[in-house]
Symmetry: C2
Subunit: 431 residues, 2 copies
Amino acid sequence: MSSSATDSPISPPAPSRPAPVHAPMTQFGRVEGDLLVGQQPLRRLAARVGQTPFYAYDRDLLRARVAQLRQTLPPEIKLHYAMKANPMPALVGLMAGLVDGIDVASAGELKVALDAGADPAEISFAGPGKRDIELNQAVAAGVLVNVESARELPVLAAASARLGLPARVAVRVNPDFELKGSGMKMGGGPKQFGVDAEEVPALLQEIGRLGLAFEGFHLFAGSQNLRAESICEAQQKSYELALRLAAHAPSPVKFLNLGGGFGIPYFPGEAALDLGPIAANLATLVQRAAQDLPSASLVIELGRYFVGEAGVYVTRVVDRKVSRGQVYLVTDGGLNHHLSASGNFGQVIRKNYPVTIVADRAVAAGAESASLELASVVGPLCTPLDLLADRMQLPPAEIGDLVVVFQSGAYGASASPAGFLSQPMFVEVLV
Amino acid sequence: MSSSATDSPISPPAPSRPAPVHAPMTQFGRVEGDLLVGQQPLRRLAARVGQTPFYAYDRDLLRARVAQLRQTLPPEIKLHYAMKANPMPALVGLMAGLVDGIDVASAGELKVALDAGADPAEISFAGPGKRDIELNQAVAAGVLVNVESARELPVLAAASARLGLPARVAVRVNPDFELKGSGMKMGGGPKQFGVDAEEVPALLQEIGRLGLAFEGFHLFAGSQNLRAESICEAQQKSYELALRLAAHAPSPVKFLNLGGGFGIPYFPGEAALDLGPIAANLATLVQRAAQDLPSASLVIELGRYFVGEAGVYVTRVVDRKVSRGQVYLVTDGGLNHHLSASGNFGQVIRKNYPVTIVADRAVAAGAESASLELASVVGPLCTPLDLLADRMQLPPAEIGDLVVVFQSGAYGASASPAGFLSQPMFVEVLV
């Protein structure tokens, strides 16, 4: 790979820079070589679940994350959970009791949110391809629709007339800027999301003409961002854009969703997001909004940031192979359950998630070794894509031991091709 | 993008090379702007299915592909279907009646193959992480196990003793070469697949010692290759490696699986594989095997090549948006159903699958336009990854029209995160 430096006798030796490492996964306690998930040793939890692979989500960590945001951000800021990150019904039920609202992305998610007891008044529905029946369902449920296209307006008006219910709408705006340094850009330039900012005044006029119940704006510039200053800039620009657009609104703005984009550290060299500057920035916006948009609630919509770090994916070593000097831990789960960790979901260059080993065997007292070995973790599928860890330094593992993939609470279970190669299904538990 | 040539007043104009185009998708007939799938106009088929999105697989094309291989390749070559490419039960049932054997990659696939009526004598089971229960199931079913690790041997011996049945085994070899120009390399260097060639003699001795029913070898150097000469080279090297290893076998080789790797054209600039040189090469190997390994059947194992071109994914335009001059066709399906076409399954650089539009509306006679427009096809998910066609020249489409993604018969439905964002499920039909 980097052989050029050693090939050339002239080049000075490269400065020895330590390789980037994963942020420490300290959210889970450790006891005697085991990991505490939901306050239970993982070995015991695996026995309770009765099978591997499984996902486990830690209630305390979910509660702690919400509490941390409540404590850090201005109290006026409303927190919405974007359940696309993790739609497990029990988890959505827990989150519904902790946050101020749920954002859904389909009628399927709407059903889960309603079943979970979320208040329809605090549910919003976004998505670029809402089918007519979904718009009808949203009006019937009484939730807020984030309109992404002029096409949705007559459908909503018809549903409203048919059902004798107001069609509550906000406008999802495709801003004229993007979130810098974002894992996924979702605004700026041409996009399938939202209505181009310059087209919004005409749309607002049409909303007024049709008599829809206008409530506000939704802006979402990007996701998985670890740079606080980029998030602050996007929030500020979103606020200012919304303020300009509010001048064209048929009624006062009651709802202003400034999006999310808060990232979590997945890969070596990444560090946790600094909430401090974001809190300060939001405090300024809250103050400005009290003057500019006195009826408006400011909303932050987060998915991954709420749930990502609270979850682990746990799979078991089925075989330990050494092929031409390289150690392979072959597990009973892989990309079919956790596509993101395999590097096949939006990553251009594959990088390792943080991974560790929990021995599922009696370890003689004092026999625990601090030594690590270089090993790759692969799944059971007949494809080289099925890779959970590529040559990582890991505690030595034997057949039967547990492989833990951290940062797996978001875009794991639901974002994976579970039927691929007809392997057994994973289980999800909230503990 | 390629602005450098125009920026510099000195550079000569770049030679005008036409952009690469997709291979023509002539396997489906066309009539009056519609596409014939299973001899039915797609508009009618969509009405019969009763929903979009759906996958449709064409029986005649599946039959024709098998017949073409039978006609081209030497009659002694046995054809196995690797059902991981498409495990739809009805399709596996059809294929089981056409080919000489089925390759399964899990106990789940084994069940489908047995349900489909495949002869257990002609089923083989490969996979790097077979669980103990799966090895037991394989012995009970009487199928051939492609052993990938020394760990499997005692488990198979115990199952054989317990069940009073022979454990039929072949050795999957990790060769000391790889398939050049392959979409996915599955042999050469350290690998999780198979047993390193240099370790095989010891494994064969152990197979003899344990009294397992040895049948032969399985070699698989890579997949999705469009260069006949690379495939010929891999087959020849595989044959020669197997011959060397056969000297260590406890009994004569009855089964020699030379792998597959036959690719199909997905992306602009790719052309169909030329079977001619492969047929000639296999004829030579068949002749040699008659001398060297007189008891052996030579097997070619194909998945994608059998089924990939026979399938289409069909989704419907829900919205047509123009954002800052760019046309977006928003459909009711996307990466949740067809991850590969979105570019998120093993592709480093995203490229477009071949895509077309079928108008699902009355088109006035003579009003059909030959003109194309630049459009992107996106799905309904709230993620920029949900992209089925990135700025392609397509027939102009309206809401309600059908978007057809070709080359979708393999690694489509089963390799996609169908639950993502809780969108409605697709349907699969064999027509």
